[in-house]
């Protein structure tokens, strides 16, 4: 099977679904001739033309809102937000509108929309090219939130997201675009939304993570020789509660790792779930590692590195929990 980078896998997925389904079209800033600022849509404009690969004016309200209208009419828009950070102007359209359309009409209308956006830090992009915003979207029922950590999953989950009859918010780690490479089959396949993946089996503790951090968790477990079970969430919402609880029941310990700022991040939800469903199995507190609560990621690489979770900090957190 060919080895592909995550960005290639994403491009593959878009191409496959545009081929499969004439209702699928891509819209966003610079997605057309340029092929997107990370080249996720590279080549699609040439292949499918402007109608299906549409450069929009600079207004995220419009990108989301127009996509929502088209989705209600049966098309399958894939809207790109140039950075996850810049999806916030569209938050009202996504959270108040897209999320509620099926429910508020008791099924008469639906909103089969995908919103894609690069997220994550480590590229010195500072406050508005580094954010993790999954917690915001995950908190709104009616939205599905997906974050792949492998190229294989990126392709399969994105195809699943496009075929999903409900709105899916799809975040891709920008530093992972070219860093993450693995085997990606040609042709189309799907990876189910809502299912976590055991990325590494183990008995000493459960480490829950996703996206780029997942890799750091795996590396830390490897390097430390800790028998950690590493769970790749893949879907942030709805969470795969059974997978989390099942693993923690087995290991008795749980560490959650996110690149997002800590407070009110998704780490808390996992702590709550584990308390609710696996409390008696716990041999230690549900623990977490995240970016400290700063209002933005600093541009200075020294400061950025100092703030972000990395292999060493994860290893340290694992050791601490193992000792408990």
């Amino acid at each position: 099977m060919p080895i592909k980078t995550m960005i290639e896998a994403i491009r593959d997925a878009l191409d496959a679904e545009m081929q499969n389904d004439p209702r699928v079209f891509v819209l966003g800033e610079d997605v057309g001739v340029k092929g997107g600022v990370f080249l996720a849509t590279d080549g699609l404009y040439k292949k499918y033309g402007m109608k299906r690969v549409l450069d929009t004016p600079l207004n995220e309200i419009g990108i989301a809102g127009i996509a929502i209208g088209a989705a209600m009419r049966g098309l399958r828009p894939v809207a790109e937000m140039q950075f996850a950070d810049y999806s916030l102007p569209a938050f009202d359209q996504i959270a108040n509108e897209a999320a509620t359309i099926r429910w508020r009409t008791a099924g008469e209308f639906s909103c089969p929309l995908v919103v894609r956006a690069p997220y994550g830090a480590g590229v010195h992009g500072a406050l508005w090219h580094s954010q993790s915003v999954e917690a915001l979207y995950a908190h709104r029922p009616g939205l599905k939130v997906v974050i792949p950590s492998t190229a294989y999953d990126a392709k399969g989950l994105l195809i699943a997201a496009i075929r999903d009859p409900d709105p899916v918010i799809f975040f891709e780690h920008k530093k992972g675009y070219r860093l993450i490479k693995d085997e990606v089959p040609d042709g189309d396949y799907t990876v189910p939304i809502g299912k976590a993946r055991i990325a590494r089996e183990g008995d000493a503790m459960t480490v829950v993570s996703y996206g780029l951090m997942l890799h750091y968790c795996l590396e830390a477990a490897q390097a430390e020789g800790i028998d950690a079970e590493v769970l790749d969430l893949r879907t942030i919402s709805p969470l795969d509660r059974a997978a989390i609880v099942g693993s923690v029941k087995k290991t008795g310990k749980c560490l959650v790792v996110t690149e997002d700022t800590q407070s009110f991040s998704i780490t808390g939800e996992i702590a709550a779930i584990v308390n609710e469903d696996a409390f008696e199995y716990l041999d230690g507190p549900v623990s977490r590692l995240a970016t400290p609560d700063v209002p933005g990621m600093p541009h200075d690489p020294g400061q950025e590195e100092w703030l972000l979770p990395n292999r060493e900090k994860i290893a340290e957190a694992m050791r601490k929990l193992a000792r408990y």
């Binding site: 209208g69 209600m72 009616g142």
Partner: protein, 343 residues
Amino acid sequence: MSAENHISRHEALGLHGEDVHELYYQMVLTRTVDDRLWNLNRQGKVLAFASCLGQEAAQVGSAYALAPDDWLAISYREHGVVIARGMSVRDIFAYAYHRDNDPNTRGRQIPGHYGSQKLHILTASSPVGTQLAHGVGSAWASVYEGKREATIIYFGDGATSTGDFHAAANFAAVHKLPVVFLCQNNEWAISVPNTLQYAVKHLTERAAGYGMMGTLVDGLDVIEVFGATRAALARAYSGEGPTFVEAKCKRLRSHTTEDDDRRYRRREDVEADRAHDPLANLEAYMKAASLWDEGVARQAGEKAAAEVEDATQYAEASPLPKPSETLTHIFAEVKTDAHQNDD
């Protein structure tokens, strides 16, 4: 030229006497529905409601111009629009009574946020302005699929201030989409008067800034609204792009049942506004055009009253939704392709 003076305005638009009678009936029905819902609110039976009193001509006249395939994006005040579009009064009342047999929302939304696949009405919502982007997306979908359909977007003067309006107007103009922006300027965004909302004389002045056609109409004149909308639709169908139609009208009641306009509107102004009644206007027109017939008018009133009475009883007899039903339709309940292919 002088011969034209003998042709009535509706005839000049190709409308027959029956059309005018139908417009009259729809406006009467709209008002009857509106009055009843308002009263039912005061009786505690309808929990909240935005009246369209004074806006019947703008709503019915524009909706009457639509083809069956055209799509509508609406706000919370468009009772006349959905009536003209053919929504049954029973459905309207079942909705207002949050009953389980309402096809619009089944107890979920507050009254008036209609949505219907059959009638091509995109589901409305409360956040002001969002439907503008949806309507443009709908027009995009029509063009995308090569369909000869326009989308008409209903919104108020207040909505023109939103970011959604700006995004929608600009995108529609750039792509010359088949959109009619139908602004009912009722002079108020709740208590905020036009003077604090914008600095131009007419909102149509904004159209040019987007590269869009702007048409100002007397929103109290159902024939004029019909004509302007039909012209805008013609432009839309023929690829000439969007039109901004501003229908000047009056809001003859408080913003909603929850509002008390005595806090911000002088009584003498409200009284003066009452003189601007689109229904009285049409009556006068019909008289001048020799279309008035007391019998027809009485029948219209009686028929509307009967429909509304029937619908009220229907709604009152209809079941409320089961509480636990509210947990349904969060996501599609069928397994998706994605899920079928895996695991």
